[in-house]
Symmetry: C2
Amino acid sequence: MPASLFMINRYFPFLQWANAYNSVTLSSDLLAAVIVTIMLIPQSLAYAMLAGLPAEVGLYASILPLVAYAIFGTSRTLAVGPVAVVSLMTASAIGEIAAEGTPDYLGAAIVLALLSGGMLVVMGIFRLGFLANFLSHPVISGFITASGLLIAAGQVRHILGVPGGGSTLPEILSSLFGQVTAINPATLSIGTGVLIFLFFARKSLKSMLIAAGLPARLADMIAKAAPIVAVAATIGLAAGLNLGTHGVVLVGEIPQGLPSFGMPSFSLDLVSTLLVPAFLISVVGFVESVSVGQTLAAKRRQRIDPDQELIGLGVANIAAGLSSGYPVTGGFARSVVNFDAGAQTPAAGVFTAVGIALAALFLTPLLASLPQATLAATIIVAVLSLVDFGAVRRVFAYSKSDFAAMAATIVTTLCWGVELGIVAGVLLSLLLHLYRTSKPHSAIVGQVPGTEHYRNVDRHTVITFPEILSIRVDESLYFANSRFLEDTIAVHVAERPEVKHVILMCSAVNDIDASALESLEEINRRLSDSGIGFHLSEVKGPVMDRLKGTEFLKHLNGGVYLSQHEAVNMLRTTEKCTAS
Amino acid sequence: MPASLFMINRYFPFLQWANAYNSVTLSSDLLAAVIVTIMLIPQSLAYAMLAGLPAEVGLYASILPLVAYAIFGTSRTLAVGPVAVVSLMTASAIGEIAAEGTPDYLGAAIVLALLSGGMLVVMGIFRLGFLANFLSHPVISGFITASGLLIAAGQVRHILGVPGGGSTLPEILSSLFGQVTAINPATLSIGTGVLIFLFFARKSLKSMLIAAGLPARLADMIAKAAPIVAVAATIGLAAGLNLGTHGVVLVGEIPQGLPSFGMPSFSLDLVSTLLVPAFLISVVGFVESVSVGQTLAAKRRQRIDPDQELIGLGVANIAAGLSSGYPVTGGFARSVVNFDAGAQTPAAGVFTAVGIALAALFLTPLLASLPQATLAATIIVAVLSLVDFGAVRRVFAYSKSDFAAMAATIVTTLCWGVELGIVAGVLLSLLLHLYRTSKPHSAIVGQVPGTEHYRNVDRHTVITFPEILSIRVDESLYFANSRFLEDTIAVHVAERPEVKHVILMCSAVNDIDASALESLEEINRRLSDSGIGFHLSEVKGPVMDRLKGTEFLKHLNGGVYLSQHEAVNMLRTTEKCTAS
């Protein structure tokens, strides 16, 4: 393939499936699109409310971005749009610079989408997708669990029908407790009614429908459509009983029609304030999206290209910004629905966009009577499925250091907000990793009888020789642990006056940096002064390549051996050792 | 030894040598103290000037801190006091909050010493000495080289006799070039005269004296006393020729007597401003001091305890703060002199303190006529020996990543100051290390014929079997590289349809964190779906301990083998493979 064609294929992945498009894929995609549209309408409205934005912004963010992703994204089945965690991060970022409901607030959301989109595209062009790897699984999982709790707590006031606010758990709870007397009974009835219905639909409806004789897939689809049923029912109820006059907060007038398209005007001040939140939203959105995309792709033996995904999501966010939307990413629940409904290509996303556009054109007048409590209940049911205490327990059992990073993420997110939460998690996990590698495990090793294999003398019955001390250091040698190595060897040698040779078994040494090289020189000098030989074994190719030509190797008071066994055999013959 | 006695011995290391003290050690220590005192008088005055402080503050910082270190420090021969790099860092820290020569400036220096001392003691109690390990050798070396250049450049104006200032190289140079016409000829004559004399003393005097028949050690001592000779000579010259009236800046009146002792008053505002600089001074001073201490201790087969060193240096700095001094640490040049002059115990430090106290009591009237140019020349000659371009070249040859951190440290220190310099170096070296471990080296391995040893197929002639793919990943598996592992295995398996078993050789895997465990589960699931067995070999004890009891091991579609050879032998027998 010529390079230019390769580049075109890389940056425009739709070319790879568009040629093979036929009536079979069309009908699969159309069916999936209808189902995702039904699911996406209430979600779009609800997540816009969560972000503190007018309901129509949620719809706008579900039209053009889907088309953009279909052209530039590499996942066949990822469904892009407003999602809970990114909506919460949006609210947190712009809540500090503008008041909810003002044009400035909406303007900031749009700029946030453009900025985040621009960053994603740049990261994609420079192939910086690996940056997302620095978010460890426990940190992501803790962040999503904490965000879910925070979102659910924040929606409780809409269920109770009380005013209030707050962006951290203590703030939200104190605001709620202060308002207990102001609960609106009509709102509470609708809110709890919808909550119970949605929880029932999620937990039991599918199995009941299957028991009633429906095919499993149809039963699943019906259960997934529960939110739209709740929306329709409560609109009817609110309109019929005129609940707006009984203190039930309704969504209200929504402008009918498609979003206007164009570049908003904004100040550089606003851009610099939003840079850090936009970066965090980009990374979190990317990680969430890629995880879903990879999981689904693997099920059909397809692959996604993380670097091209950055471009796909970036262009989707730019499209959101240009069409009065707000930051979007690939959503877990809706992508699974899209996949299960049989979507074959990203064209399903385009058809979904058409569905949402039709809703924006024709359904918006109906939505004026929709109670906010219904949307709040939709959000609560959706986000509580993100909360995963099982993961917390599993991580605790497996690794205390991973658990520490996870717990720090959860506590910081709940008490100081989403941005500090994710930053604290990343920093702590990196610091703990560095701390661990700065005090590496090391073992004195001996030969496992009957093999040429060398293992820890404390864990295995092995053959050793008193004159030969074989030490295996289980870490790359770099600045953070180079002094540790000097100390380890000094202590072991001081304890064993009979030692004539030290063999450093380097099977676990993946790198020796300049600091460690100086330490090795120092060790060699000290051992040499005491008349002890210093040998290396099992030095890996790339490490050996660099050691060649250094002063260290020239001054080494001993040899470098391909294998530990070869080293021991050579030295025991020279020294005429008998096994201890 | 009872625990309480152990604690007393740990925190008061002087108890270990005080009992064995006798007339031999006394006379050795006294001789060393006289020589170090002679060296320390001009250094103390000069480094106080470098820190922007009155000359007597340098003397004060060389009395009580030495006594404090003698009680709490573990090095037998470390000579504590004002040093060049810490003086520069002091000037940089307090230059931003007060004007040189004001009582606020001096007050801030004292608070800085107290803060830095307090931090060192706390770090010592919590045994946080390992934190210093995160300063890699190239970063320290680059930092000291850049500081040396910065200090030398900053002293040139005293040699030229022009006003000026600046704390970064561009500032200093532009200030110098602006003042070229204002050069004072008398100052320039003294300055260059002393410079030439000191360079000559350092380079040639010793060998000339030896050639003239003096014993090597005496010749060395005389050469080391050159600065005090320069001080005496230029005092005589300045007083005799009344140079003060010819525009030569003199040190001026110095208060006669010992420093007052007591806790200074200060504001919390000042403390919070100085927190970061105090921390950086603590760490840099500690690293410098411990490097010298370890080098000297190793020469006499002694050991120092880095954590107790923190306490020793911390108490020394608190003593400096309580006696109108400024931050101190162990100096390289004077410790070597102390060692070479035969100091046996820290009592030599106490005797040096007595010597400096006598100087403060009786010599200060003489110092009024000392030209600042003499001190500047002393500083320049001392710091240029810190500049080590050879180290830059060696690091460049050995490791580009270490060189990048070193270059960043040098450039940032020169252009943006010492604090940013050290921070930039540490951060960049950590990021480069993380980046490297996030894209680990991996190799397909085969059996080296005639051994049980397995090495890279690309570097060695080895035996492999088409059905068995053995992959060695050369890095601990953690969040930053867990996705990389999934991709690596997927690519290798996709390229080899004949593979029936994948063996992950874990000899270089020193840790598997929770993220990597999830990746291994995912790899196992995918291989298992394709009917491929997934095996582990040479899993280290500590890693295996944690894997036991995980879901991963229960679901593993293959075995865990003690050695790679055992794994291959077992599978080739089962699959009846023939070598490819």
